[in-house]
Structure formats: structure tokens, C-alpha cells
């Protein structure tokens, strides 16, 4: 053993990375299908009436959100953890047999669970709690998978050479702790079969919360799921990949510490903005609204730190499509964290709630920030995992522009659709009679739904180009270790 020099071991990263791309294609394909269904309802039965149960919008929607968030995003987060974790702690997974086994079991259990989840959602087995749709056996399985990751983090930290934990590690730890807590509390449920002495399906359960309490717990969970799955681990990634790829130190390490604590403190209180004008107490709504507005500060703190990291180095943004992905990603992060607080103001929310503007907000964050950052991270890791250059730079640049166009079409159409919808729903004459019936709004929105579907399709096409580029990278020109210092090597 001693004669071989010590190297980082990326075998677990590789598994998660490949699975992430696969799940990304699946989740986005379903998203595109949903988008076309909203524009042309006939698409609901595109496989015929017989299979309509499995192809209709309501059956597929949870498949989209779960495959994307807990599939594509989490799998990428883990790919990046097993990569970044080793590097900034300066310790190799190969140094500990236990950690290697933990990592592999983590992946294969997750792989198995993903499969069961897809089948169960298609079969219509769900608890009907948004983003927590899984029944109790799966919830238990997820807890095990999550704890395995936690052991992996603790183990790697325990044998590290670098004493101080780099800022990305803080964000990964926060992700681990917060999601563990959210998952446990939101999924407290009673298996009906066992509680009733044998009535109904064995896997069925009911939540321990009901009514307003349920709403409160659900959105405390839901909002922080956004915070700790779609935000903190992605910040963990950008704090490593942007400095590394550009060769520039973070503009201000202090600002990163500050934004971290700011985000932790503020995020947990903002969930009330999902429940404005509902039956939850007024003070919860006001607090949610106030904390949402304050949330701009730590969010922009991180994003500005990223943009300033490129200070004096903007030619790199022009030259490298990989850095373009990250810079546009942080710009979209700023964008959605400005849009969110605006939507959280009560008078704005009165128009925005229940409309397509919310869906637009979700996707400028999801496609622009999360999607782009994950794509950039994978592009950066691929040459290091396979010791080869990225197959094609021009393909990457083309992908960038196609997807950017897709995002712009997606959110602009949803803005117009959402605000039109909100205004039409509340329009009334001088006697208080509603000016429009629901179907009037549907007719008006049709063109915007079509534009969104086109935008989504473009984004998917870009993602397939990405998958192809990574696939070809595995057989591209081999590179030397020295070419992998900073900017990733790319073929023409």
C-alpha cells in the first residue's frame, strides 16, 4: 500500500454523479410533459385512455417535484459532497475502509429507494403532503439513508488533516442537520393498518397533525426544504467550485461567515409567507413577511461575494462557458431572492398567491440557480473524475445559450400569466359581482402556457446536450494532473 501515493477516491462521487444526470433527464422530461399538458389538455392521455391513470397531470406532478428535488438535486449534492468534502478536509476516502463502505451503502440504498419511490408515485400511493408525499415505510428508509450520510460527514471530519472547516463544509453540515429535523417532524404519522388492528393497506398512514397545525408544520417544513435542499447545499457548491475553477480566492471570507449565520437565523422564521391570509395566527403571517424581507440581506451577501470574487477577472466569464453557468447562477439567485421577498409582502401576495407567478418564481430559482450551479459543478468534477478533458467547449456554450433562453421564456411567460390571473380573479364591478368566470382566465392564459412549454423544452434539450457532453468526456483526450489545477481543460 505504502508505495502508491495517496490520492482522493472519487468512486462514490462517480456513482452519484451519473445517477444525478439520469434523474435530471427523468424529472425534467416529466416537467416538460406537465407543461404541455397545461397548454394542451389532450396530452394527458398521450398513451391512450387505458393508461390515462398513469399519464395525467395530477399523477405526474409529484413525480416531477420529487424526481427533481430529492433525485436530481440531492444526488448532485451528494456527488459534490464526496468530492469537495475530501478535498477541503485534505483527506482521502481511501484512508478509511469504513467510510468507503458507508459511502457505497449510502448510494445503493438511495438508488433502491429512488426506484421504489418512482413506482409508488406512479401507482398513486401518496400522503398528499406536498414535498413529503412518501408513505411511512419510505420515510423510515429515507431516515436511514440520511443518517448514513451524516455518519459519512462525521467520519470524514474526524480523520481530516485540515483543522479548520471550510465554509462549504458548514453549509453541508447545516443541510444535514436541518433536513434531518424537518423530515422527522413533518412526517410524524400513524400507520392506520397497525393502529386500527388490520383495516386498509399496510403502507397507509395519516399525519399526526390536522387543520391549522398541519398547515403550520407543513410550511415550516416546506419553506425550509427550499432553504436546505435548494439553497444551502448549492451555496456550499458555489463556494468551492467558483474559486477553484477561476483560481480566485473568495472576495471576502468574513462575509461568507456572516452570510452563513444570517441565513441560518433568518430562514427558519420565514415559512409563514406561504400561509398569508389563511387561518394561521396573524402574528405568524406578519413575522413570516418581515423575516422574508430581511432574508434579502444574507442571500445577497453570498451572491455578491460570488460576483465580487470575479473582480478584475471578468474576461474569464467571457472566455469560459463553465464560469458563465456559475455567474448566471448567482445572478438568478439574487433575482429569485429579490422576487421572493416581494411576493411575501401581504398586498403583493394577495395577487400572487395561487397564481402562475409563484410557479415562475420557483423555476427562476430552480432552473437558473439550482440547475445551472449543479451543471457547473458536474462539468468541473468530470475531468477530475475521468482524468480527461471536457469533450466539447462549443457544445457547452451552445447549451448555455439554449438553456438561458429557455429560462427567460419560462419565467417571463409565468409572470405575465400570473399577474393576469391574479388581476382577473379579483376584478369586479361596482356591485361586487366578479367580472370574469374561471374559464375566461384559462382562455387568456393559453398562449403563455405554450410559451412556458417551449421554454421548458429548450431547457430539457440543453440538459440532454449536457448529458451527451459528459458521456463523451469519459472517452475524450486524457489530461495530465497539472492541467487540472484551476480552469477545467476543454476540447474544441
Amino acid at each position: 500500500m505504502e508505495d502508491r501515493p495517496l490520492e482522493y477516491d472519487y468512486s462514490v462521487t462517480r456513482l452519484f454523479l451519473i445517477f444525478a444526470i439520469f434523474l435530471g433527464i427523468t424529472g425534467m422530461l416529466v416537467g416538460v410533459l406537465l407543461a404541455w399538458q397545461m397548454a394542451y389538455p389532450g396530452v394527458n392521455t398521450f398513451l391512450g385512455e387505458g393508461l390515462a391513470e398513469y399519464t395525467n397531470f395530477s399523477r405526474l406532478r409529484p413525480l416531477h417535484t420529487n424526481a427533481i428535488i430529492y433525485g436530481f438535486v440531492l444526488s448532485s449534492v451528494w456527488a459534490s459532497w464526496y468530492y469537495v468534502g475530501q478535498r477541503v478536509l485534505k483527506v482521502s476516502m481511501a484512508e478509511s475502509k469504513t467510510l468507503m463502505i458507508l459511502g457505497k451503502v449510502h448510494f445503493w440504498l438511495y438508488f433502491g429507494a429512488a426506484f421504489v419511490i418512482v413506482v409508488s408515485l406512479l401507482a398513486g400511493v401518496t400522503t398528499s403532503k406536498e414535498y413529503s408525499e412518501f408513505e411511512w415505510p419510505l420515510d423510515l428508509g429515507i431516515t436511514v439513508i440520511w443518517l448514513l450520510w451524516g455518519c459519512g460527514i462525521a467520519g470524514l471530519i474526524a480523520i481530516r488533516r485540515e483543522k479548520t472547516l471550510y465554509i462549504s463544509i458548514w453549509y453541508y453540515i447545516a443541510t444535514f442537520l436541518a433536513v434531518a429535523m424537518l423530515h422527522l417532524f413533518n412526517n410524524l404519522e400513524i400507520p392506520t393498518y397497525f393502529a386500527s388492528g388490520g383495516v386498509g393497506a399496510w403502507y397507509h398512514s395519516v399525519s399526526m397533525y390536522a387543520g391549522t397545525n398541519d398547515a403550520l408544520v407543513q410550511w415550516w417544513f416546506g419553506h425550509n426544504a427550499v432553504a436546505f435542499v435548494l439553497t444551502t447545499p448549492i451555496i456550499a457548491m458555489i463556494y468551492y467550485f467558483l474559486p477553484k475553477e477561476s483560481g480566485q480566492a473568495i472576495y471576502s471570507y468574513k462575509l461568507s461567515l456572516l452570510s452563513f449565520w444570517g441565513l441560518m437565523f433568518v430562514y427558519l422564521w420565514a415559512g409563514g409567507h406561504h400561509l398569508l391570509y389563511s387561518t394561521v395566527p396573524d402574528w405568524v403571517q406578519t413575522m413570516g413577511s418581515v423575516f422574508s424581507v430581511i432574508l434579502i440581506l444574507p442571500s445577497w451577501g453570498s451572491a455578491i461575494n460570488m460576483l465580487l470574487t470575479m473582480k478584475g477577472e471578468w474576461q474569464q466569464v467571457a472566455a469560459s462557458p463553465l464560469i458563465k453557468f456559475m455567474i448566471l447562477g448567482s445572478t438568478f439567485y439574487m433575482f429569485s431572492t429579490l422576487e421572493g421577498p416581494i411576493q411575501a409582502i401581504k398586498s403583493v401576495n394577495a395577487i400572487a398567491h395561487f397564481t402562475d407567478w409563484i410557479v415562475g418564481h420557483v423555476h427562476d430559482g430552480a432552473l437558473g440557480w439550482v440547475g445551472f450551479m449543479v451543471i457547473a459543478a458536474i462539468y468541473h468534477m468530470a475531468p477530475r473524475l475521468f482524468k480527461r478533458e471536457i469533450y466539447s467547449k462549443s457544445l457547452m456554450a451552445t447549451q448555455f445559450w439554449i438553456q438561458t433562453l429557455g429560462i427567460v421564456l419560462y419565467f417571463t411567460s409565468m409572470w405575465i400569466a400570473g399577474i393576469t390571473q391574479g388581476m382577473m380573479w379579483r376584478a369586479h364591478d361596482q356591485f361586487g359581482n366578479l367580472a370574469y368566470s374561471f374559464i375566461d382566465t384559462v382562455t387568456v392564459l393559453h398562449p403563455y402556457y405554450t410559451i412556458r412549454a417551449v421554454g421548458g423544452t429548450l431547457y430539457l434539450i440543453g440538459f440532454i446536450m449536457f448529458a451527451y457532453n459528459i458521456y463523451k468526456t469519459t472517452t475524450a483526450r486524457p489530461v495530465e494532473e497539472s492541467e487540472l489545477q484551476n480552469a477545467s481543460p476543454m476540447g474544441a
Binding site: Y8, V88, V91, Y166, Y240, A249, I250
Partner: protein, 65 residues
């Protein structure tokens, strides 16, 4: 005092305490250029840039094998 009043006072106290703590931390970071180990905070950025397994750690964990 009713429970609602108690709650509101608690809320204000928590809010003030946490805000003071956060600002104290900001103040601490900007006055103190270095942490207790004597490292300039900005040196820690190098953890991402010099991250080969053979690179010297910014602050080495004491070896006690």
C-alpha cells in the same frame, strides 16, 4: 400576565438578543482580523485553492498518532 403577553415579551427579548449577538459577531469579525489561532480569516480561502492532498493545510490538525 396572559400567555399571549408573555409570548410577545419572549419574542421581543429573543429578537433583541439574537440581533445583538449577530451584530456583535459582525463587529468581532471586522475588528479582529485574525482568529484565536492567529490565522488571518482571509487565508482560509486558500482551503479551496490549494486542495491537493499533498498541499500543506492552512491550519494543520495536531498529529497525535
Amino acid at each position: 400576565m396572559s400567555i399571549a403577553e408573555l409570548q410577545s415579551y419572549g419574542y421581543i427579548v429573543a429578537l433583541v438578543f439574537l440581533s445583538v449577538a449577530l451584530y456583535a459577531y459582525i463587529y468581532h469579525l471586522y475588528v479582529q482580523r485574525k482568529d484565536s489561532d492567529g490565522h488571518d480569516y482571509e487565508d482560509y480561502s486558500n482551503m479551496a485553492l490549494k486542495d491537493d492532498i499533498t498541499d500543506t493545510p492552512v491550519s494543520e490538525k495536531s498529529k497525535k498518532k
